[in-house]
């Protein structure tokens, strides 16, 4: 029997699931190799679970979604969380560090109509996640490799080295050292192939922190370039804010942490 795949959406921009439809060369072959049992963005055919693989985009921001993600887990063999929303709470997790009632008033005339939790949290805070693909958005190649591995019954493997290493391997001139531009490449997990440095732009961390990240060393370098602590904080805390905050908190006091105290930490 073909493996049954489901694609779920929580709070997100749809970009990560669009990456699947953007696999133009592989999509029809994929449609033959697996049964797409639930993928609302692509088909109105809806098959009940259980599913062999559930691909989950988006973060948890409502009470209803807290329940829905439990059902996804119960009905799924393997759960793959895709993108910064699903793995880190996404850019909408910026509200975790603000007053949500005030946010509602800023955006909506009738805040009482709006149902939302105070936080945006990654899927892994609610259920066991088997595979995580980082990025805002994910890399199409990583997605295909992960699906192929799962279809063949292997555990997918993704690189955890920093963007920096990709620059070195691909002969990309270092934007931080040679051009003096702020770059999070030394502490950001690769997967994009050093996309931003390849066009002369500093990395802004959309794949979240790398395992080996040393925040202190980079913070010192960024200060030397004239960045303020607020600027450094905002640079790290946008696309994968919960992960970078955790990294800074974990490294604080170890001599590897960022020294600016930016308020609450996750």
């Amino acid at each position: 029997m073909k493996p049954r795949i489901a694609v779920w959406k929580f709070s997100s921009c749809d970009g990560c699931q669009l990456s699947l439809l953007d696999c133009e060369d592989e999509l029809l072959a994929l449609g033959n190799a697996v049964e797409i049992a639930y993928f609302l963005e692509a088909t109105s055919r809806v098959e009940d679970g259980p599913y062999d693989v559930s691909i989950v985009e988006g973060s948890i921001t409502t009470a209803h979604d807290e329940e829905r993600i439990q059902e996804v887990r119960e009905n799924s063999g393997v759960v793959v969380a895709i993108g910064a929303c699903a793995t880190a709470g996404g850019i909408q997790a910026l509200k975790n560090f603000a007053d949500v009632e005030e946010y509602k008033r800023i955006v909506y005339a009738h805040p009482e109509y709006v149902d939302t939790l105070a936080t945006s949290t990654p899927i892994g805070e609610h259920i066991k996640v088997d595979v995580e693909l980082r990025g805002c958005p994910i890399d199409r190649g990583q997605l295909l490799a992960a699906i192929s591995a799962l279809v063949l019954g292997h555990a997918p493997r993704t690189k955890t080295s920093p963007v920096c290493l990709d620059c070195k391997q691909n002969g990309i001139t270092c934007v931080l050292v040679s051009k003096g531009r702020p770059c999070l490449g030394p502490i950001t997990q690769t997967g994009c192939g050093a996309l931003c440095p390849s066009i002369g732009r500093g990395c802004f961390g959309c794949f979240g922190p790398a395992d080996t990240a040393n925040v202190d060393a980079l913070t010192a370098q960024l200060r030397q370039l004239g960045m303020t602590d607020v600027g450094i904080d905002e640079m790290m805390n946008t696309y994968a804010t919960t992960q970078f905050r955790k990294l800074v908190a974990d490294q604080a006091g170890t001599g590897r942490g960022g020294s600016d105290d930016s308020g609450e930490q996750v």
């Binding site: 749809d14 970009g15 699931q17 669009l18 963005e41 949500v100 931003c196 066009i199």
Partner: protein, 433 residues
């Protein structure tokens, strides 16, 4: 879905083949339609709130994350708003590169919608993958056309979803002319395929229905509109500079939705391909103009089901424009023009694939954002969608629940609604704390 005596309720809890999460709710009693709603479930993400206090360089990247299907629209509307606040304007080859990037997005989004989201409605399939079982060549043609749109975005923007190369003032780096010209053979193939697409969708059968709304779009003096600084309605009653947009249009927060409904002081309006076509058909490049003649579409197209043909004509136009821009491309001397922040307000507007997208930023002297407003196209089209639903249900009460529901879903998809976009805004009002 339930069928009750004396009345009917059609409920679709999760709409398929739209971007984002929405639901359909229709209530009928004694042959009278009591209620027709497109409900938006998509939880709010509060972009306008967390942009406050951020640096003026950030909106192109941050607002792109509102929508993975039309990130370039957000990037372009935010860039032009902030550039106008600082009193600069991007011209020449840099403006052409922006248009090229935007053509890539129109192609990618329109072809996705035509082939994968909307055509299955007309031909009776649940989706494109199922459609491919019987029409493999057609679906493959669509996928290749879409891929070429994505490649344009990768070439100019560095990445197809949330491009990384866009900045206030232009780009981080300008693409290499040699690499651009390598795309020409594929683009010429795609232009032919786009012409065939127009003829293909023109063979569909279109439910009879005409909407009575005004068409509102951006206009450009010398081009089919993508980025411009005036807004016009097809009847001519409205012709304003972008800075006056909020004097005429507002958004209303309705209880059943996390999105705001667009309102115009003069009545019902729609944005999107039908509106652009009504305003600027005579500015289409020659191949697209010929296609419109061939299928005999002119001026105000009032049957919203025919929007799929107009989208196909716009795809022809986007490939033609892409070819023209690449053939004429000379690498600009610098990838961006300099900007200097000042306390000011700026308005920006551009034509997302699904219609007019407006941004306004209030900026401080140090370049930080004091507040901002974003009015996305789907919020503006939502009242028209509900209006259409009401009439379509009224006209088709003899259909079975299943057929009527299907017709309602198809009606919603006429607008290619992007629910992810619609949900995140509304009027940003200053909070007194």
């Amino acid at each position: 879905m339930s069928h009750r005596t004396g009345g009917r309720i059609l409920n679709v809890k999760a709409l398929a083949r739209v971007e984002g999460e929405g639901a359909l709710h229709v209530a009928v009693r004694d042959n009278e339609v009591l209620d027709a709603k497109l409900q938006i479930y998509e939880p709010p993400r509060f972009f306008e709130a967390f942009l406050e206090g951020r640096d003026f360089r950030e909106p192109p990247d941050i607002t792109a994350r509102i929508c993975g299907i039309c990130p370039v629209a957000y990037q372009m509307s935010s860039c032009t708003a902030i550039e106008s606040a600082f009193g600069v304007s991007v011209e020449g080859q840099l403006a052409e590169l922006r248009r090229l990037l935007y053509c890539g997005e129109w192609i990618e989004s329109h072809v996705l919608h035509i082939y994968m989201l909307h055509a299955p409605d007309f031909l009776g399939y649940p989706g494109a993958i199922e459609m491919a079982a019987e029409h493999r060549d057609l679906v493959q043609r669509g996928l290749r056309m879409k891929k070429i749109g994505n490649q344009l975005m990768e070439l100019v923007g560095g990445r197809a979803i949330h491009p990384v190369n866009v900045r206030i003032g232009g780009f981080y780096s300008s693409p290499d002319p040699e690499r651009m010209r390598e795309m020409l053979p594929d683009l010429r193939w795609a232009l032919d395929a786009a012409q065939e697409t127009v003829d293909w969708v023109n063979t569909f059968s279109f439910p009879a229905y005409e909407g009575d709304w005004e068409f509102v779009s951006v206009v450009q003096p010398d081009r089919y509109p993508i980025m411009g600084d005036r807004i016009r309605s097809a009847s001519g009653v409205l012709d304003i500079p972008v800075a006056e947009f909020l004097d005429h249009f507002s958004e209303e927060h309705v209880a059943h939705s996390n999105a705001l409904h667009g309102k115009w002081d003069r009545g019902q309006y729609v944005v999107g391909p039908l509106a652009r076509f009504a305003n600027a058909q005579d500015q289409l490049p020659p191949g697209a103009a010929a296609a419109a003649d061939r299928v005999d579409l002119h001026g105000e197209v009032r049957n919203p089901y025919k929007s799929i043909i107009v989208r196909a004509i716009e795809v022809v136009a986007a490939y033609e424009e892409a070819i023209r821009i690449i053939e004429d491309y000379v690498r600009p001397t610098a990838p961006a023009i300099p900007v200097r922040p000042r306390a000011s307000v700026g308005h920006g507007v551009s034509e997302a694939p699904r219609g007019l997208l407006y941004h306004r930023y209030f900026l401080k002297d140090d370049g930080s954002i004091d507040s901002c407003d974003i009015v996305p196209p789907t919020a503006q089209n939502q009242p028209a969608i509900e209006h259409d639903l009401l009439h379509v249900v009224e006209d088709n009460l003899s259909l079975s629940d299943a057929d009527l529901t299907h017709l309602c879903e198809q009606t919603i998809r006429n607008y290619d609604p992007c629910i992810s976009c619609a949900t995140h805004f509304l009027e940003i009002r200053r909070v007194d704390v």
